[in-house]
Symmetry: C2
Subunit: 251 residues, 2 copies
């Protein structure tokens, strides 16, 4: 039995997120449907994680098992020929038997893009969040220092989200390996956050709350308190989905 690893980029604008569902087109559903045609059999794609509706990806990873002998390059080209151009298979390769896109992942990087100038260009509107306020980059960086390291991120988890992420006993404890703010100087900013795992909506709620600090509505000390409180109701609103992209997954 072969175990094939796919690296996938997508524009999440027109999809109900990664995970297959009945009432909206999803990335997983679109790829599985084409894979089933190419493999002449139903295929179950194991994704490294879910992305919410509207979130993009530059490096989602998924794997599936098959007995078919098609070449990986033929598979990649065939899928890309059938998929909408908003979903692209960047690579396909045979992976070791034990490889599992989700359980083998050691870390992921998410990128969140925003623009603080008065007018967001049309070509950026689907990929960059427009925050037309002065942003204190120094305070944002203070918050990013605070979250770096191992913490209980319960304040930054979608409330009511199921507990599947907690199997294994680590609860809401995650380790942020790196958290940076790139300042382009023309009003464009890019958060880059790498962690060993993320709770549901964690990056969006972190960015949404840190932006409250960057706009001066919360103090850095308040942010520190929110992290310590382990209480979702104390954090800010999630930043909009369309500014977020799953950049890379490390194995």
């Amino acid at each position: 039995m072969r175990n094939i690893k796919l690296v996938i980029a997508y524009d999440g604008t027109d999809f109900g997120g990664w995970q297959r569902q009945n009432n909206a087109p999803t990335i997983q559903g679109e790829i599985e449907r084409r894979l089933a045609i190419m493999m002449a059999a139903p295929v179950h794609l194991l994704g490294a994680g879910r992305t919410d509706a509207g979130v993009h990806a530059r490096g989602m990873v998924a794997n599936f098992h098959t007995v078919k002998t098609i070449s990986c390059e033929g598979l990649r080209k065939g899928l890309n020929a059938m998929l909408p151009r908003s979903i692209r298979i960047l690579s396909a390769e045979d992976a070791p038997d034990g490889f599992h896109a989700r359980f083998s992942a050691r870390a992921k990087t998410y990128v969140y893009s925003l623009f603080t100038g008065p007018v967001l260009l049309p070509a950026e509107r689907l990929y960059v969040c427009h925050v037309p306020y002065a942003l204190r980059a120094d305070l944002v960086k203070d918050c990013l220092s605070i979250i770096t390291g191992t913490h209980d991120f319960a304040s930054f988890e979608l409330s009511g989200s199921r507990d599947t992420a907690r199997v294994g006993g680590r609860g809401a404890i995650r380790t942020i390996l790196a958290a940076d703010l790139h300042v382009a100087g023309d009003g464009h900013y890019r958060f880059s956050i790498t962690g060993d795992g993320f709770l549901r909506q964690m990056v969006r709620i972190l960015v949404g709350t840190i932006l409250e600090v960057g706009k001066g509505r919360l103090a850095v000390d308040d942010f520190q308190q929110i992290l310590r409180a382990r209480d979702r109701s104390q954090a800010g609103p999630p930043a909009p989905a369309h500014g977020l992209s799953l950049q890379e997954i490390y194995y």
Copy 2:
């Protein structure tokens, strides 16, 4: 009577081009409709030129006359609040009485973006033309040298296009002030072509024909002959609309 100048950016993907028409949404039509609401009177917007269906703009210019006393900044913000986010008014200002977006223009710059790698990222698919072939940048640059200066570009004009551009007697003679190819090194290329005026589809037909040279299907000498022939049937197909953007207009 005030004469107001607008600088406009748009994503042409979902529009039937700049010019107002009855059977498709257009940039001019969308802006005029909102202007009429704000001014409580019909408004005729004079555009610097037309762009084809699917072509984008970063710096289209248009002007209109009004007796209303609204501030330019109020006008800009009001229009942006009403327009879809695929159309943005970058600036609005009072212009001299004699200013005419089309007749006062001294030069325009168009940019054409393309990518030669195997997989075009989803976020670029609406703005970058995918040309998955090796491209000889040196030969492309030779062609760009050939078109620089004053020439009769009849070979690169949409056949059957009306002769309005020829009023004034210069026929298909235009002056290309600068024509460059920017090579990013990762498979991305950007043509930048500045001229005192352009015939219909001229940039797309030029790029389409030059790409034939860049792919090795035509020689540079062939390209020189095509320019001299002043015969549309000798040139190549127009490059796809979505790679083209009207970058800037100079007054």
